[in-house]
Assembly symmetry: C2
Homo-oligomer: 414 residues x 2
């Protein structure tokens, strides 16, 4: 809901305010990505004049985005004071609602997590109305835990496992949660009434992609993230922006028709990719109906531990199932590599847990299939962010929006 | 190679020159998309002051991008003169080198084609060095045909059927042409020496996508174009920009592994999508080796006429082959719809020729497979631009670059 400098510059007349806005973003990004520096060095590094830098830094200080530290001697002349990102003022919250838990983080302007919380709750049976009440409670708890006040919160970004209408802030459909047509953003806004924060919602795979983009080495421009759960979703970030498609449906990779047609998908179709690479498909392949792996009273993390234990013990059926899953994973990833050519694919969700047994058959299939080879070796990695990926990405999306348009932050009173 | 206003605004300090650059683009785009108007109306429509509009219009006139027409009475006050795009000055050339022909168009600032040429030539056996000489000859011919001088040419954009390194202007590999590692841009630049033109190269499917984007109704933001020939390539345009991927390999959709594994692809792999939807695959499916359809001395257009004649006459083998092709086409398009969610897919190359027989099985498969249904009906259309699509897109890309950054055009002497 915040206007970025780029969108301000496109289609609207440009004036002095546009210039100021673009240069505020340039300075703040330079501090965020290049580290703390004096005004003189910032001027040298950005190409702005020292006078302009001084004026803009005062503005960034008034918005509590930048603070002054100790003096730094830069050679000739008076020593200049070093400017840092203000990590003690603004907070960006990321919240995630999923099937059996709700979690969140509070992040500072440098991307550091200042508080985190995770509550195991049956969100499906709780339902949307009470579920959003719990989400508001968790947001308040995060604020308490990091010792911040509501006036410090600049963004509350919610991650949902389903189809989201980002522009209107509505959850269209989350099949595994069985929530449909929920006014999530306005409901949270109504409960929290944090007037200096922008409230937004996005899909969990999109925000997982954002989290890994923020964690990736500088220079990476294009990343594809795959969330592996019962369903398999994709999120793409190019140059810091989430790619959503014309109607917000981009990334429905779990429903690529390329598996054998003998399994019916959760969507009602058959042959969808997630019927061979989703978590349910793997459990079905390696365990008969009465097996503990299918016991829904056992936490999924424990059941995955059991899968790993069997594989480590050399159980043939488990190993064959995982090999087959790795093969199909590589097959679908080859399609995504050929269609999108991302600079990096990150596999999240349950994929990292079984990495040891699926990585090799997966890469073998990619080597056979990816068209860019041998010129370019595709980069496929397993996520190390764990279950927090989406809510980290949600918080990062808020930080990124603030850095892209510092003028969206209010000037502090007094 | 030209700098757009957007890229000028990102990462570099903004100043008065940035403002001017953005506003020049705003005015020129307003004229290009909204039609001719007086200065007063332009001011009202863009939000710029009348004084600013007057100054900027003088600049656009000096760069020969805008001309003044008759007076327009706008109510009170003096009648203002109507401003038009200057369609008589600058020319943007699009050239396409393909396996058995080379073609080109010269376009004016309004997107109208002012000259066109197509020469049937065996470009493969001609080879890169002499082939590029012919391309330069064709460019000179286009200029003669539209009565323009070299100093009027602002862009020469070349379309190649293969993998291109856009930044360095190099053709990496065009397998069907058997050209590899060719310095196409500098070679053309060296031959033509048109100093006011920017020279660029791109992939034919990318430029086909650009042509259809330019022809699409306003409001369409995301388009996927599929070029159907022996190979099948994809091009994506989002918000007027070609999406190339991290290494320039995006859109290699013909090599998605989803066909049966019994046919070897031109790339050496088996099961690639183009082994069931490419032109060669269809001809193999409907005609035995001795059949006229396989006679390479007959022009491909004639052979396609023969396919249509047989289908129209009700030949069972032909009809079954085309139905099967339509089915596989729909299968792959469903993947692209689920992964990318484009607002429109356009099928070009030979697909429109056989449209009558493949559209129904194709759409049936899409209806079974596309995840956005029934909420959103995917838009899939057949191209009406014919064989010229890529060189039209090449010329459009030059026009678009000029409108996005009018300051890249030189100020005319005298």
């Amino acid at each position: 809901m915040s206007i970025t400098a780029a969108s301000a510059a496109a289609g609207a007349p440009a004036d002095q305010a546009t210039v100021r806005r673009l240069n505020l973003a340039l300075l703040l990004r330079s501090l965020a990505e290049g580290g703390s520096r004096s005004r003189a060095r910032l001027a040298a590094d950005t190409g702005l004049t020292k006078a302009t830098v001084s004026t803009l830094v005062s503005d960034l200080q008034a918005r509590q985005l930048v603070v002054e530290g100790d003096a730094e001697r830069t050679g000739l002349g008076r020593p200049g004071r070093v400017l840092h990102l203000n990590t003690e003022s603004v907070r960006c919250l990321g919240l995630e609602i999923n099937v059996d838990y709700i979690c969140g983080v509070a992040m500072d302007l440098s991307g550091q997590v200042r508080a985190r919380a995770r509550w195991a709750l049956p969100m499906q049976s709780l339902g949307p109305a009470r579920g959003l009440g719990v989400a508001a409670d968790l947001a308040r708890q995060l604020l308490l835990d990091c010792g911040a006040g509501a006036q410090q919160v600049r963004s509350v970004q919610l991650s949902m496992p389903g189809m989201v209408d980002v522009d209107s802030g509505i959850l269209v459909n989350a099949p595994n949660l069985r929530w449909r047509d929920v006014d999530v953003v306005h409901s949270l806004l109504g409960r929290l009434d944090w007037r200096w924060a922008s409230f937004t919602v996005d899909n969990d795979a999109n925000l997982g992609a954002m989290a890994h983009y923020a964690a990736a080495p500088a220079g990476l421009r294009h990343l594809l993230y795959l969330s592996g759960e019962i369903g398999v979703g994709g999120g793409t970030v190019i140059d810091g922006s989430i790619v959503r498609g014309a109607n917000g449906w981009a990334g429905e990779v779990g429903h690529m028709p390329l598996g054998p047609g003998d399994r019916v998908c959760g969507c009602g179709r058959s042959g969808c990719w997630e019927t061979v690479v989703g978590l349910g498909a793997v459990l079905d392949a390696i365990a008969d109906p009465g097996d503990a792996l299918h016991d829904e009273t056992i936490d999924m993390a424990e059941r995955l531990d059991l899968v790993c234990a069997r594989a480590a013990a050399g159980d043939e059926r488990t190993l064959a199932g995982l090999r087959r899953q790795g093969h199909w994973l590589g097959m679908g990833l080859s399609i995504l590599l050929n269609v999108q050519d991302p600079g990096l694919i990150v596999l999240g969700g349950y994929f990292p847990v079984i990495q040891e047994w699926i990585a090799e058959p997966m890469m073998a299939e990619i080597r056979r299939r990816a068209i860019a080879l041998p010129d370019i070796e595709p980069r496929v990695e397993f996520s190390s962010l764990g279950i927090e990926a989406s809510c980290l990405g949600a918080a990062h999306a808020g930080v990124e929006a603030l850095i892209a348009d510092p003028a969206s932050a209010p000037i502090a009173a007094g």
